[in-house]
C-alpha cells in the first residue's frame, strides 16, 4: 500500500513553478534532454515535490501543456460551419498544416507523441484531456454534414476522422513527405469521395443508417 499525499495541502505556487519551468526547458533544451533535476532546479523546488505529484517526466510535460490550453478555457473549439463542407474542411486542414510547420509547436508535440507511444497511461490521459475534445469538435462538424446529406448516412465518424487526419499526421510525424496546402486540399477531396453518400441510396441523412459508434 503506497502512501498517498494529501492533495489538499499541495502548494499551488510550486505546481505552477514546475509547469512553467517544464515548458521553458522543453523550448530551451528539447524534450529528450529535459531532466527532472533541471525542472526542479529551475522551479526552485525539491525534486521530491515533483516525484510526489507526477508519475513521470511525460506526465509533467503533458500537464504543462494542458495548463496552457486550459488557461483560455472557453477557447472556441467549434469548427467553422458555413454549409460548404469542402471549403470548411480545407480551411481547417490548411490551418493544421500551418500549425505543424510552426517550430514552436514542433518540439513539444513531437515530444509528447514520443512518450504517448510507449506509455498507454499517458496516452489515455492525452486523449481524454487534449485530443478528445478537439476530435469531438471535429466530429460535430462532420455530424452536421452527415445530417445535411453531404456524407453517407452510415458514415463512421471515427473512421472518417482518421481518414482525414491520419495521412497528415503520419507525414508530419515520420517526415515522409512535404506538408503543403495542396496536400491538405487533396486529402479533403479524397475524404469527400470516400465518404459521400452512395448515389443509388436515397437517404435523408441522420437516423436512417445503422447507429454509429459513440
Amino acid at each position: 500500500m503506497v502512501k498517498q499525499p494529501n492533495p489538499a495541502r499541495r502548494s499551488e505556487r510550486s505546481r505552477q513553478a514546475i509547469l512553467t519551468a517544464a515548458r521553458e526547458l522543453v523550448h530551451e533544451v528539447g524534450y529528450a534532454k529535459l531532466s527532472i533535476e533541471a525542472i526542479a532546479a529551475r522551479a526552485g523546488v525539491g525534486k521530491q515535490t515533483i516525484y510526489r505529484w507526477w508519475p513521470s517526466k511525460g506526465a509533467v510535460v503533458l500537464d504543462a501543456f494542458l495548463a496552457l490550453s486550459e488557461a483560455g478555457p472557453e477557447r472556441s473549439m467549434a469548427l467553422p460551419d458555413t454549409g460548404d463542407l469542402e471549403a470548411d474542411l480545407k480551411v481547417v486542414m490548411r490551418a493544421t498544416v500551418a500549425e505543424f510547420a510552426d517550430p514552436a509547436f514542433e518540439g513539444p508535440i513531437r515530444a509528447l507523441n514520443t512518450e504517448i507511444i510507449n506509455d498507454p497511461t499517458l496516452a489515455a490521459q492525452y486523449r481524454a484531456k487534449l485530443a478528445g475534445p478537439v476530435d469531438e469538435a471535429k466530429k460535430d462538424r462532420l455530424r452536421s454534414a452527415r445530417r445535411a446529406g453531404q456524407l453517407a448516412a452510415d458514415a463512421d465518424l471515427d473512421l472518417a476522422l482518421e481518414l482525414l487526419y491520419a495521412p497528415l499526421y503520419q507525414r508530419w510525424l515520420l517526415r515522409s513527405g512535404p506538408l503543403t496546402p495542396e496536400y491538405a486540399d487533396a486529402l479533403v477531396e479524397c475524404f469527400l469521395k470516400a465518404m459521400r453518400p452512395d448515389i443509388h441510396q436515397f437517404t435523408d441523412g441522420e437516423g436512417s443508417g445503422k447507429p454509429e459508434k459513440q
Copy 2:
C-alpha cells in the same frame, strides 16, 4: 575534421555479435531500458566498438532489425495480385493488423518509431532501408490496379498509400481504437471509394493521365 574509421578493417564478428545482442536485449528489457553498456557486455565487445560504428542507440537497433530483413534477401515483397484489388488489399490489410497485434513486433517497432520521430537522420535511414522497399511493393500493386482501370488514372500513389495505411498506423501507434479485421476491411472500402475512377470519365487506363510522381 573528425577522424573516420576504416570500414575495411571492421570486424564482421563483432558487428554480428552487437546486432544479435541488441535484438535480444530489446526483447528482454525493452528499448527504453536498453543501454549501450549492456549491448557491449552481452556482445563481448568494447563500448568503443559500438560508438565507432553507430551514432546512436537507435541506429544500432535499426541496423539490428534491418539485418533481420536482409537475412532473407529474396523475401517475397510483392503483394498478391489476383486481379481482385479489393480482395487482395483486404488480405494484406488484415495481415498488417495481425502483425501489429503480435507482441514480438510491438516492442521493437514502437521503439524504432519513438526514435524516428525525433531523429530525422534515423528517419531517413529507416525510410530508405525498411519502409521504402515495402512501400514500393505496395505501390506496384496499386499501379497495376490503376493500369487495370480499378483506380483513377490520375491517382497519386503516395497519397493513396497514406490513405490506406495511415489510419491503421495511427490507431496502432496512439492506441486510439481497436485494430480488427473489420476495421481493415472498412479502410479498404473507403480507400476504393476515394480512389475509384470517376464514373463520368471515360478512361483507358495507364497513359492517359498526367505522369504520376516517382
Copy 3:
C-alpha cells in the same frame, strides 16, 4: 563558482565504508591498480560520494591511513628519553629500519610518497597531519638533548632531523643500499659528531645561543 557540499549532512557511515575499502584494496591490489570505481563498489557507495568529498585518489588513501593513526589518538608519540642520547636514537632508528622492512607498510607508504611528490596540496596535508606531529616529537627529544648540552646550543633542529633521517629515507625510497641495524647505528654516530657541541666553546646549554627556528 563551484558548488560546495554541506559537510554537516555528510554520511559518516559512507565515509567510514570508503576509508575501510580503500585500506583493504591498497593491500589487495596495490596503490597503482587501485581505482575509485573499485573503492565505491567495495564500500557500497556511489562514485559521486567519493568525488564529492575527495579531490583525488591520493587524498582518499591519505585519509584512510590518517584515520588509522587517529584511531588511537593518545598514541605515545614521545621518543624514549633515558638521558643517553646515542642509545635512545639508535633504538628509534633501528625501529624505523624495521618498520621500513615490513611489507605491510612498504606498499602504502611508497604509494603515498609517489603521490606526495607530484601533488603539493597532498604533500602539505601529509606533512600537517602525519609527518608533522611525528617530527615534532623527534624534535622534542633533540631539544631535550640540546638543553642537556649533548648537542650544539645553536643546532638547527630541522636540519638535524634531516641529517638523521634523510639518508635512511632515501636509501629506502630509491633502494640504493641495504637497510640494516648497523646502518642505523652509523647514521646516529655521524649525526652526533656533526651536531655535538664545539669543544672549545664553553656553553651552559639552553639559553646562551641565539634563538633556534621554531
Copy 4:
C-alpha cells in the same frame, strides 16, 4: 618463451622520434598525463613499435633523458678539486640547489623519481646509467679529500654521500623546506664535522684505515 625482436633491424629514425616526442610531451602535459598513445601519435609511429622496445612508460622517459646526457658524452663529470674541500663542496651543493629550482628540470626529474620508487627494475637502470656515474664522480672527490687527511681515514663514502645529499634531495622531493644557498652551506659544514678525522688519531690518510666499501 617470448619472441624477442632483433635489435639489428631496429629503426633508428623511429627510436629518435619516440624519444623526442616523449621529451616534448613531458614538458607539455607533464609525466602523469603522458600516454603511450600520445607519444606514438606525436612521433608518427605505431604503438607496437613502442611496446616492442620498451617495457613501460617510465622506461621510455628514462631513455629519453638518458639520450640527452649521452649526447654530450665527454661531459666533464669530475668535481672541482682546488684542495679546499669545504669551498669545493659548497660550490657543488649550491649548484645542485640551483638545478633543483630550475622548472625545466623539476617536472621530468620528479616524474622519474615517481616511477623509480615503485619500479625496482627502473630504479636499477636509473642508478646504473644516470645516478651511478655522477655518484662515482662525487666519491672520487671525497676519496681525494680522504687521502689528503681532510676526511676520516675510515670514512664510508657511500654513507658520506648520503649524509651530504639526502637532506637536500628529501627537502626538494617532499617540499619540506626552502632550498637556499645558505642551506647548502650548512649541510656542507655539518658534513665536514661529521666526517672529519678524529683529533686523537694520528693518521696520514689513505691506506692506514680499514678498507672502505666499493
